[in-house]
C-alpha cells in the first residue's frame, strides 16, 4: 500500500473519531447559536434567570428579604420591604437604603422608615418627603421605631428619643412598655414578586446562552474547551475536503 493511501486512511479514521467527539459541541453551538440569533424575537434578552443554583454560579447571592406590615392585617398588600438595597412599598420600589431596614411605622399621611443611620419619611403613595442621616440630626445608633400618638419613638443606646416629624425636633423621653415595630413574613405573592424584580435586574437567559456558546459559563477552562472544539471542527472540515478530493479515481476521466 502506498504511503499516500495509508495517509488517506489515517485521515479518514481520525476524521470519524474527531467527528464523534465534536458532535456534542456541535449540538451545543448550534442550539445556543440559533437561540442567540433570535433572542430579541423570543424575548430571551429580557427573560430573567430565576434558578438559584445558576445565580449562585454567577456569584449572585439570594438576597435577604426584610418586611414590616403597615397595618394590623398581615395579609393585606400594605407592606414595606427591603430587598438588597431597594425599599419596596408593596411591590413597587420607592427608594433605597444601603444599610439594614430596622423599623417602619405609619403616621397620618406619612410612613417613617428607619434604616441603620438613616430615617426616611414617605407619603402613603411612596414619594420621599425627607431623608435624615446622622449628619442631619438623627440620633446615633437608632435601632428601632415605634409610634406614640403623632410622634415617632426611636430606641437608641442613649435611651428612647421622640421625633416630631412636623418640627423635625428630636427630644429624649422616658417611656416604658413601648411596642417596637417588628419584622414579619410578607405574603408569598409579595415575596415572589420582589424576588422576581430583584433577579430581573440581574441576569437574562441571553447572557446564559452567550456564556454557554463561548464556554465562559465554565470559566477559562470552558473557553479553552470551546477553542479545541472549534479547532476540531476546522480539522473535520479540512480532512473531509481532503478525503473527498483524494478519493481514488476522483479525477480520472471516464474513458
Amino acid at each position: 500500500m502506498s504511503p499516500y493511501r495509508i495517509f488517506r486512511m489515517l485521515l479518514l479514521r481520525w476524521h470519524r473519531r474527531i467527528g464523534v467527539v465534536a458532535a456534542l459541541f456541535v449540538v451545543v453551538l448550534v442550539v445556543t447559536g440559533i437561540a442567540i440569533n433570535h433572542s430579541d424575537d423570543w424575548g430571551l434578552d429580557k427573560k430573567p434567570l430565576k434558578q438559584a443554583w445558576l445565580l449562585k454560579h454567577y456569584g449572585i447571592p439570594s438576597p435577604v428579604l426584610r418586611s414590616f406590615p403597615l397595618n394590623e392585617s398581615l395579609n393585606s398588600g400594605a407592606w414595606l420591604s427591603q430587598l438588597g438595597d431597594g425599599l419596596y412599598l408593596a411591590e413597587t420600589q420607592i427608594g433605597s437604603c444601603g444599610s439594614p431596614l430596622l423599623g417602619v411605622v405609619v403616621l397620618p399621611e406619612t410612613i417613617a422608615v428607619l434604616c441603620a443611620g438613616r430615617l426616611q419619611l414617605f407619603t402613603p403613595a411612596g414619594e420621599k418627603l425627607d431623608d435624615i442621616s446622622e449628619s442631619l440630626g438623627l440620633p446615633r445608633g437608632a435601632e428601632a421605631l415605634a409610634l406614640d400618638g403623632e410622634a415617632v419613638l426611636l430606641r437608641t443606646p442613649a435611651g428612647v428619643i421622640a421625633f416630631d416629624p412636623r418640627s423635625f425636633m428630636f427630644s429624649a423621653m422616658s417611656v416604658e412598655g413601648v411596642t417596637w415595630a417588628a419584622p414579619a413574613l410578607a405574603p408569598p405573592t409579595i415575596q415572589r414578586s420582589l424576588l422576581d424584580q430583584y433577579r430581573g435586574s440581574g441576569l437574562s437567559w441571553e447572557r446564559l446562552l452567550l456564556d454557554l456558546h463561548s464556554g465562559r459559563l465554565f470559566g477559562s477552562v470552558g473557553v479553552y474547551i470551546m477553542d479545541l472544539a472549534a479547532i476540531a471542527l476546522l480539522l473535520i472540515a479540512l480532512s473531509g475536503v481532503w478525503v473527498w478530493l483524494s478519493k481514488p479515481g476522483r479525477w480520472k476521466r471516464p474513458s
Partner: protein, 203 residues
C-alpha cells in the same frame, strides 16, 4: 612592601543610601496614612454648630419646610443632571437669611453640605458654605476654607450658574462639582422662598 599595605578602595554603592531613604519614607507613609484618612473623612460639624456659624451664637433661626414646585424641581434636575429625590426641603430662617443643609453624592457617598444664603440685597448671595460630613476617602479637601471661601458672595446668574468662578481642586473634581451644585440649589431655593414670602405679603 608598600604593595602589601595598600588597601584597595572599596567601591561604595550609591544604591544603599537611596534604599535607606526610600525605606524611611515608606515607613513614614505607612504610619501617617491612617492618621490622614482619619482626619479627613467624617463628621466635621453638627447641624447646631453649622447654624451657629451661619446665624451667630445667640440667634434662634426658625426651622421651616419648603415644598418644591414642579418648575423648581425641573430647574434643580437641570443642575444635578438627575431628579431631586425629595418633595420638600427643610431649612432654617432668620429675617432674610436662610440656611440649607443638603446631601449630594460626590463619587459614591453623599457629602453633607450646608449653605447660608442672604436675600437681603438686590439678589440672593451665598454668605457661607460648610462641609458638615464627608464619607469618601478622596476629595475631602473641599472642607477647607481656601475652597469654601470662594463661594462667599456668589449669586445665581443667568441659566442657573454661579455668578463667580470657583477654582477646582486637583483630585477632588467630583466633590467640587457636588459642592457647586448644592450652592446653586440653595440659591434657587432661597430665591423661591423669598418669592413665596413676597407673594404672601402682596396678598
Amino acid at each position: 612592601m608598600a604593595i602589601s599595605h595598600y588597601k584597595m578602595p572599596t567601591r561604595r554603592s550609591g544604591l544603599m543610601p537611596a534604599a535607606v531613604i526610600f525605606g524611611v519614607l515608606l515607613v513614614l507613609q505607612c504610619m501617617t496614612t491612617p492618621l490622614v484618612q482619619a482626619a479627613s473623612a467624617g463628621q466635621y460639624l453638627t447641624v447646631d454648630e453649622f447654624l451657629d456659624l451661619g446665624f451667630g451664637d445667640d440667634a434662634k433661626p426658625e426651622s421651616k419646610v419648603f415644598w418644591l414646585t414642579p418648575a423648581l424641581k425641573a430647574r434643580i434636575k437641570a443642575i444635578r443632571g438627575k431628579d431631586f429625590p425629595l418633595l420638600r426641603v427643610r431649612y432654617w430662617q432668620q429675617d432674610l437669611r436662610t440656611a440649607w443643609i443638603l446631601e449630594e453624592i460626590g463619587k459614591e457617598m453623599p457629602i453633607t453640605i450646608g449653605v447660608v444664603v442672604d436675600s437681603g440685597g438686590a439678589i440672593s448671595s451665598v454668605t457661607q458654605v460648610e462641609i458638615l460630613a464627608f464619607r469618601e476617602s478622596r476629595g475631602w479637601e473641599v472642607r477647607h476654607s481656601f475652597f469654601t471661601e470662594q463661594f462667599r458672595g456668589a449669586a445665581l446668574a443667568e441659566r442657573d450658574v454661579l455668578s463667580q468662578h470657583i477654582d477646582g481642586i486637583t483630585g477632588a473634581t467630583l466633590s467640587v462639582r457636588a459642592v457647586k451644585q448644592v450652592a446653586l440649589i440653595a440659591l434657587l431655593l432661597a430665591d423661591a422662598v423669598q418669592a413665596s414670602a413676597d407673594t404672601s405679603a402682596a396678598e
